[in-house]
Each structure stands twice: as structure tokens, then as C-alpha cells.
Amino acid sequence: MILLVTLLKGLAKALRYWQPIAFLVLVQLVLAWLVASPLTMEMHRAWDHSTIAHDPEILPAMQGIAMDELMLAGQERFESLYNPLFMAIAGVIYVLFSMLVLAGVLPLYAGLDLKFNWERFWGNASRYFRPFIGLAVLAALLFWAADLASELVDAFVKDALAGSDDEFSVFVTGTLAVGAFRFLLFSLIVLVFQYAKVIAAAEGLRNIIYLTRKAFGFVSRFFVVAVILFSLLGLIEFGIVALDAAVWNYALPGADSLFGWGWLVLVMLLLSAVKLSFFSSQVLLYTEISRRASEGVRVELNSGSYETLV
């Protein structure tokens, strides 16, 4: 129950600070549009004067695949326009920008003052941006090590299963078990570094090694709670993606382009809101557990909910 309350409070808090969400989406869409623009200009050049997309004679056979078909037919030109470097630059810019926004907004989630203030936002951002970069670099190193470890496990399992012809043992043991191992390892790292940022903002700390150790201690102690909260938010994100897919496939074809762009902006706003809700919920979870601990209440997990033992 407390998890659900934390989740809802976190969502509400993230939505209350709508300015960083809008800021994220604005930069996201501008970057995406800039990277896509050489391709989209070619689309307009190649297709705007063609009748193919509106041709009832071709629709029964080609309707759905028309875009794929057209892009393949013009693939050389499209490929020549696509520049992976632009994409990489956009990716790096956006990840850094996202960290900056997070550094600005996380202390607000941890505070009691509900008013958004750009001055405080930028002040927080300048204070926590560098440690957050340090945490990201450390996380990247650990991801790399975890990837290496799971590759080794994968090779070991594959070797052990080499003689098996059974699809299920290969699939379940080989793919799912190794996948689960990888997932657990990655989840642990993700959670540790998310809570490291949460702890930094909640307690005003900036030493990345200390933060990592403290976050690891917290996550390892409350791993299941942290995973459940994370998974609930993940489910919400998945639901938005699925809803977007449904609307994209069934409602958007033939719809006014204003509706299309509007829907796209709305989906990205929702996704960014959920992303920030991960953090706001985690801040609430962390502060709640810390508060109870400071009041001398031992907090343990029992069957997915808290049970306070005096």
C-alpha cells in the first residue's frame, strides 16, 4: 500500500513541477527534428508531388508498407543523407541536458517547498551537475563490467547447453536465465545510481564514492521494494508506449497533421513525466524510510509492504 502511495505522490510531485518536463520535451523534439530534417526534407522532395500515397489502386496491396517501400526504393539517397555523427552528437547533448535537468529538479523533489523557482533550479543544477556526471561515468564503467560478466555467463551456459536440442531448455535456460541474470545485474546498477542521485539531492552530498556506497547499502537492503517501485513505473511507461502504438496505427493515418504532432508532443510529455516520476517517487521512498529510521523505527520488508517493528 505504501508503495502505491509513494508512487502516486511521486507522480503528483513530478507533474506539479511541469516546467522541467516541458523543458526536456522541448529540447528532445528540437534535437530529434534537427537530426531528422535531412531525411524529412528528402521525404517531402520525393513524395509531395507523387500520387502514390493517395492512390486507391495501390492501397490494398501496399498501404501499410508504403513508407518502407518508398524509403527502400530511395535508400541510396536516404542513406547518403543520414549522418550517424549527428545522431551521436544529439544523443550526447540530450543525455547531458537530461542530467542537468535532473540535477536541478531532484533537490526540489526532496524539499518541502512546492513552488517551482528557476533560480533555485539552476542553482541546484550547477551544484549537482558535476557529481551526477561523475556518477554516470562510474555507472558506465560498472555497466561495462556487468556486460562482460554476463557475456562470460552466457558463454558458459551456451557451452553447457551445446549438446541440447530441446528448444525449451535452450530458450529458457540459455536465453531467459542469462537474460534474467543480466537484467538483475543491470537493474542493480541502475537502482544504485538512481538512489545515489536521490541521496545526493536529499542529503546534500556530492562525494560520488560515498554516494555510491550509501546507495548500494540502501538498495541492497531494500532491493525488492526498490525493484517493485521501479517496475510499477516501468509498467506505466510501457502502457504509454502501447497506447501510443495503438493510436499511431489506428487513429493517426488519415488524421489531421495537427492532431499527429499534438499527439506526439503529448506522448513525449507523458514519457518525460514518467521518467521524472521515477526519481520523485524514489526520493519519497528514500526520505520516508530514512525518516522512520531516524525515529528509531526498524523498517523491514514483509510480503511486499512495510512492517514497522519496534
Binding site: 528532445q28 523534439l29 534535437l31 530529434a32 527534428w33 531528422a36 524529412t40 521525404m43 517531402h44 520525393a46 513524395w47 509531395d48 508531388h49 507523387s50 500520387t51 502514390i52 500515397a53 493517395h54 489502386e57 496491396a61 501496399m62 498501404q63 501499410g64 508498407i65 508504403a66 513508407m67 518502407d68 517501400e69 518508398l70 526504393a73 536516404f78 543520414y82 544529439a90 544523443g91 543525455v95 537530461s98 542530467m99 535532473l102 551526477f132 555507472a139 541440447s164 536440442d165 528448444e167 525449451f168 535452450v170 541502475v190 538512481q194 510501457f238 508506449v241 502501447a242 502504438a245 496505427n249 493517426l252 497533421s257 499527429g260 506526439l264 506522448v267 513525449m268 518525460s272 521515477f278
Partner: protein, 714 residues
């Protein structure tokens, strides 16, 4: 007659006997009467009588075969060439494995010849005293064989004359590979194919018996097969042919199958197979035919049996209606073991096909018709491979291309608006949404294209086009299977492009015209081999016009077909006249090498449409060049003039009319799916950006989600 008593014969017979003996010993086996070669039963060129025992512990086959081979009409030959396909898997260094890469000891397979002999001299006909004398000789040929990987050459003591038959006995031992390519075992499931020493084809005075290589399939003569298969008693067996008898002894059972006329024999065995039988009725040419369908399912996949059956019913109905009746009264379908066993799926053998779909495909993506698609395609091979056979080494496009085209027609009747319409699009698009989230670092343009393909309704035609467009100039259709650049070029030139060529041919002779051609092909080459040239000639004959201009371009070359409307311009400058007419110029360009007659539909802004024929079929004919304007039909006082560039490189349609041209389309009925770029087939003067805007939204959406994905934890 015993030739050891020649002195008892009359002098004439004695002279005759000496001559025959001379021919027999000096030149070879005697020649039949000349006219016999013309009445050869080509369904009995290579007969096989095989006994084989499966040893499940050692994954081995112990076999004995008697091959009776007829030199139907070739010049005498002093050697026989046989395929030993299983040797392709003997080591990582074989031609097959070198091209494929990867090899493990478990995947090793081979065939060893234990003995080979000509029983009684090997001669079985024509019957004569000399033949009987030769029949006393029992010759061991083990020292007269040469084995080069998958090909064995047997140097005969005497040549085999034209029209003569020879009998050869071979004892062999096969180690089956753990299946990774068509044949082998997966745990206790066995798909036994390409397993016995098999004669090559002796045609035009030469042996055609190529090595088994990565992309090649097979080529064999028709014959009568009798095969005794011995397996453990708890095994179920499915095989080519009809089950004649069975017996059980000492924990083993022996099943005897016969098949005629066929050109290969495959079988499957496993204790986990469950057999279901059904009599399938279908119509062909107004008659009702019945086929006994033997479906052998994996015991834990029985719920998929009905899917297989419905696919076979549909295939029989469709092929029976289009091309003629299936010539046998039995068909065996195998559902391969899941996992590793799927590597034996999707294969065709006479009267015997393997289907298969992975667990994920079967249960998560049933709307993708994984079982139906494979089963109908492999059934199609009963027509184009099984009955109308061909040299698959040299001309793989014949069996694969004709099957792709005709099976697509059948599959599309199952899902008339495209295979994937039943596909859970929401699921695939969800994956599409998650893809950048999970694998953003690999996102590149190729992925973008792949992503756009996911979850979109997709007819067989559109799928083939999408694959063809990946490498449209990869290789000519007529390229040999073993001279392909890679798997993609093989699949394009053997499967996708030939299917598109036949669809394009529909645009020239009509869909019924192509059906007539294939029906005639099926009738004329029933139980024979057909060559590409014969198909071209037959197509022209049936269509009633010489189609070589078409086939020469699309089969032999790598040229592409791409016609475009380059521009539509309207001007009220001279030569527009004082009556207020404007001059519109529609410029068409041929961007590819392939030339096909085109229809150009021009729409005026007053709503009138005019079709112009651009009937060029080759680059050599004189260009169209009208000096003066002529009246357009349909009233309205409009006039036109055509001017064509050299070799049909371009065409200008000049139209004098009271209003401007609104749009122009080349190939307005989309009759030519070979056309590389359908977007440039038309031009409208008033731009409409709604479709491009959707593309723009797609691209921005994907990139925005990608950015969200890579930053979601930061």
C-alpha cells in the same frame, strides 16, 4: 543362353555372337535398337532399391542399395558419377562448410562406401546371350572409385552403351550430423535426406554432378524407389512414397515404401511423432480428387495439426485449380522437432514436406502465418521441383521462383489483404517503441527501415518487393546457385525477383495468361526436367507473342526497371494560341536499363483523363517523333504531340488544352511490381505533404523516443 557353347550354334549365329561379344567386351554394353531411345520411359532413369537401418545410439544409418541406371540417350559412358551429399559435413574444410562457416564435431556428418560392385557384371538389359555371359561376372569396384568430397566417380570396367541399363550395388554407412542444414538429428528426431549414394544426371553427353555447396540444392533423374526402413519399434516414420508393408522383429520394425515416379526419397523418424490422417478432397479441372494426408506432428504440438491441415487443403485447392491435379494420392507432412530440429524444416522432397515454426512464432505471432506460409510454399514445390523438375544447381530460380509466385497466390487467398493483417500490430509497434529504448546504440538508418517494417500490413508481393529492393541489382536471375555472392543475392535472384518477374509478366499477358503458361508447363513437363530456355519458349507459345524481349531483360541481366514522371510543366507562352489554350509538357524518363511498354495516364485539371501508350520494347526501334499536334479523343478540342528520346530514354507528351495538366502517372495500374521506385511514377502539380508529414512524424517520433530511451536513467 550360355556363351560358353558357341560351337553348337549355326555359323550365322556364331558370327553374330562374336560381333556382339566383341562389342560387349571391346566397346561395352550392347546398344538397343535406334528407335528405342525415342520411347524411353524417362520416369525410370534411376531406380533405387534400398535397405536402411537407423542406429539411434550412434546416429548412423547402415544401408545397402541397388541402383539401376539407364543411359537413356547419351553417348556411351565409362563412368558413373554419384552424389555423396553427407560428406559436405565431414570437416570444416569442405566446400559447403567453408562457405557456411562454423562447424563442431557434433555437426559432423559423412557417408562411407563400404563396398561397391556390379552384381553379375551389372548388365541387366538388353537381354541377350552375351548379357547372360556377362552376368556371370561379379565385379568389385571398390578400387575403381574416386571420391572428391560430395562426388564419387565410379570408373566402370566397360562403358554403358546408349539405351543400356546397369545395376550397381553399394553398401554404405552414414553418420548423420546434428541437424543444422536440412538433414540430421536433434535428440531423437531424425530427418533423413540426401542420405544415400545417388546418381548425377547424364545429359548431353556429360555428367552433371556438382559438389554440394552452401546455396545449392539438387538435380536428379526420376525413377522408382523401393526403400526398406528399419527403426526401433517405438519410432514413428513418415516417408516419401506409399507404405507397402511393415513387420516387427526383435524390438525393431521394418517399413517398406515404394514411390514412382519420384526423383528423391526422404524420411523422418522419432518416438515423439504422432500421426494424424485425413482424406483431403479438392477440385481440379472440374473433377474431384482425393489425397491421403499423413501429418506427423510433434506430440506436444498437436494443437497445431489443424493449422497444417488447413494449409494443405488450401494449397491443394489453389494449385489444383490453377495448374492441375497433384499427381500422387498421398502427401506426408512433418512437423519438425522444436529448437534445433527446425533446421530441417521448410524443405521439399517428393510426396514429403517439412513445415515448422518456432515456439515464439507459433504462439506469439500466429497472425504472421508461420506454419501456413511454409507449408504452402513447400507444397508448391511438389509442382515446381517434384513433378516439373529442374537442375537446381544451375537454375534455382525455376523451382524457387515458380513456387514463390504460385504459393504467394495461395497464401494471399488465405489473407487476401496481406499476411500481417491478423498480426497483433499493437504488439509489434510496442516493440518498435521499445527498440530504441533497448538498443539505442545500434540505431542507424538500417534499423530505422527495419523498424518501419514492423507491424505494417504486408502482402506477399510487398514483402518480396521489400526484399528485392535491398539489392535490386545483386545478380541476374539466371545466375547459378553456387556462384552467388551471398545468401541475400541468392534469395533475391532465386525467390523474390522471379516472383516479381512473373507478377510483372501478369502486367503484360494478364494474370490468366500467366496461369495458362504455368498450367501448360505443368502438363508438358510432367515428370521431366525443364530448362529456363524451354520456359521462355513455352511462355511465348502460350501467350501467342514472342516474349523474348521481356525475358532477355529481366532474367539474364541485372538491369533495373524504373520509369519516372520527371516533370509536368504548363505554360501559356507560345506555342499556346489565341484561343486561350495552354501548353502542358509531361516529361517521362526511363531511369533504369529495363524497357517495358508503358501506359501514361494524364489528368487535366478539368477532370478528364487520357491514357497514352509508350509501346517501346527494346532500344533499337525508331523513336516516336510527331511533327504536328493531333486531336485527343473524348472531345474538348485538346491536342497532343509525342516526342521520344533515343533508345526510349525519355518521352515528352505535349498537350494543348484549355486547362493545364494536373497530374501524370506512368504505369497507373501498378502492373509492374519490378519497378524500383513507385514514388516517382507519378507527379501532381499541386503538392500534398500529408504523407510526407506522416513520414516526418515517424522519424521525429523514433528519434525522440530514442533520446528518451538513452537518457531514461539519467
Amino acid at each position: 543362353m550360355n556363351l560358353r557353347k558357341p560351337l553348337n550354334l549355326t555359323p550365322v549365329i556364331a558370327v553374330y555372337a562374336v560381333v556382339v561379344l566383341f562389342l560387349l567386351l571391346g566397346r561395352g554394353i550392347s546398344r538397343p535398337p535406334q528407335d528405342e531411345a525415342d520411347t524411353v520411359d524417362r520416369t525410370r532413369i534411376a531406380d533405387y532399391d534400398i535397405r536402411v537401418r537407423l542406429d539411434p545410439d550412434e546416429k548412423q544409418l547402415l544401408g545397402h542399395e541397388t541402383i539401376t541406371w539407364l543411359n537413356a540417350d547419351g553417348p556411351p559412358t565409362d563412368r558413373l558419377m554419384l552424389h555423396l551429399y553427407m560428406n559436405a559435413f565431414r570437416s570444416p574444410g569442405t566446400r559447403y562448410m567453408s562457405a557456411r562457416g562454423g562447424w563442431s564435431a557434433e555437426e559432423a556428418g559423412w557417408i562411407d562406401i563400404k563396398s561397391i560392385k556390379l552384381p553379375g557384371g551389372g548388365l541387366i538389359e538388353p537381354e541377350s546371350a552375351e548379357a547372360e555371359q556377362a552376368a556371370q561376372i561379379d565385379e568389385d569396384l571398390i578400387d575403381r572409385i574416386e571420391i572428391d568430397e560430395t562426388v564419387m566417380t565410379v570408373h566402370l570396367p566397360r562403358p554403358i552403351e546408349t539405351g543400356a541399363r546397369i545395376r550397381l550395388e553399394i553398401e554404405f554407412e552414414v553418420k548423420l550430423p546434428r541437424v543444422f542444414s536440412r538433414a540430421g538429428y536433434a535428440s531423437d528426431y531424425y530427418l533423413v535426406a540426401q542420405w544415400f549414394p545417388k546418381t548425377g544426371v547424364y545429359a548431353d553427353g556429360r555428367w552433371i554432378c556438382p559438389q554440394y555447396e552452401s546455396y545449392t540444392e539438387f538435380y536428379a533423374d526420376f525413377g522408382r524407389y523401393r526403400v526398406e526402413i528399419t527403426v526401433p519399434n517405438n519410432y514413428r516414420v513418415g516417408a516419401t512414397g506409399y507404405l507397402d508393408s511393415s513387420r516387427v522383429r526383435d524390438g525393431e520394425k521394418t517399413l517398406v515404401y515404394t514411390a514412382h515416379p519420384v526423383h528423391d526419397f526422404a524420411w523422418a523418424a522419432s518416438p515423439n511423432l504422432r500421426e494424424t490422417k485425413e482424406k483431403v478432397e479438392y477440385r481440379s479441372g472440374g473433377k474431384v480428387y482425393t489425397v491421403d494426408l499423413f501429418l506427423l506432428m510433434q506430440r506436444d504440438r498437436m494443437d497445431m495439426a489443424e493449422t497444417y491441415k488447413s494449409a494443405v487443403r488450401l494449397a491443394l485447392e489453389s494449385f489444383g485449380r490453377e495448374y492441375g491435379p497433384y499427381p500422387y494420392s498421398k502427401l506426408t507432412v512433418i512437423d519438425p522437432a522444436p529448437g534445433r530440429g527446425l533446421n530441417s524444416g521448410g524443405m521439399e522432397y517428393p510426396m514429403f514436406i517439412t513445415g515448422g515454426s518456432s515456439w515464439l512464432e507459433t504462439y506469439l505471432f500466429p497472425g504472421d502465418l508461420p506454419i501456413e506460409g511454409v507449408t504452402i510454399h513447400e507444397f508448391g514445390h511438389q509442382y515446381w521441383y517434384g513433378v516439373v523438375a529442374n537442375n537446381e544447381f544451375d537454375e534455382p530460380w525455376i523451382d524457387e521462383g515458380l513456387t514463390s509466385y504460385s504459393a504467394d497466390k495461395a497464401v494471399d487467398t488465405l489473407a487476401p489483404f496481406g499476411m500481417n493483417l491478423r498480426y497483433p500490430k499493437i504488439l509489434s509497434d510496442t516493440l518498435l517503441g521499445l527498440h530504441p529504448f533497448l538498443r539505442g546504440w545500434r540505431a542507424d538508418f538500417g534499423d530505422l527501415v527495419d523498424l518501419l517494417r514492423l507491424g505494417l500490413p504486408d502482402s506477399s508481393l510487398a514483402q518480396r518487393r521489400a526484399d528485392y529492393l535491398l539489392q535490386p541489382g545483386a545478380a541476374p536471375i539466371t545466375a547459378k546457385a553456387y556462384r552467388q555472392l551471398n545468401e541475400m543475392s541468392y534469395s533475391i535472384s532465386a525467390y523474390h525477383k522471379p516472383a516479381l518477374v512473373l507478377k510483372t509478366l501478369e502486367g503484360i499477358v494478364g494474370e490468366p495468361g500467366v496461369s495458362r503458361i504455368l498450367r501448360r508447363l505443368y502438363e508438358r513437363f510432367r515428370f521431366r526436367h525443364v530448362k529456363g530456355d524451354e520456359i521462355r519458349a513455352l511462355a511465348s507459345e502460350v501467350a501467342g507473342e514472342d516474349l523474348s524481349w521481356f525475358f532477355d531483360q529481366v532474367l539474364d541481366g541485372t538491369g533495373i526497371l524504373d520509369y519516372a514522371v520527371d516533370s509536368v510543366e504548363t505554360s501559356d507562352e507560345p506555342p499556346a494560341n489565341q484561343d486561350g489554350e495552354v501548353l502542358s509538357i509531361v516529361t517521362l524518363r526511363r531511369l533504369g536499363e529495363v524497357i517495358l511498354p508503358q501506359t501514361v495516364r494524364v489528368a487535366l485539371d478539368d477532370g478528364r483523363n487520357f491514357d497514352f501508350k509508350w509501346d517501346r520494347k527494346n532500344p533499337r526501334s525508331e523513336p516516336i517523333w510527331m511533327e504536328s499536334f493531333e486531336a485527343l479523343g473524348g472531345g474538348g478540342g485538346s491536342r497532343y504531340r509525342l516526342r521520344e528520346g533515343r533508345a526510349g530514354g525519355w518521352l515528352k507528351i505535349e498537350i494543348l488544352s484549355s486547362g493545364p495538366v494536373a497530374s501524370a502517372r506512368v504505369d497507373p495500374g501498378y502492373r509492374y511490381p519490378l519497378d524500383l521506385n513507385l514514388a516517382n511514377n507519378s507527379y501532381r502539380t499541386d503538392a500534398d505533404s500529408s504523407f510526407s508529414t506522416r513520414g516526418e512524424m515517424s522519424a521525429v517520433r523514433l528519434l525522440a523516443k530514442w533520446l528518451h530511451g538513452i537518457s531514461v536513467f539519467n
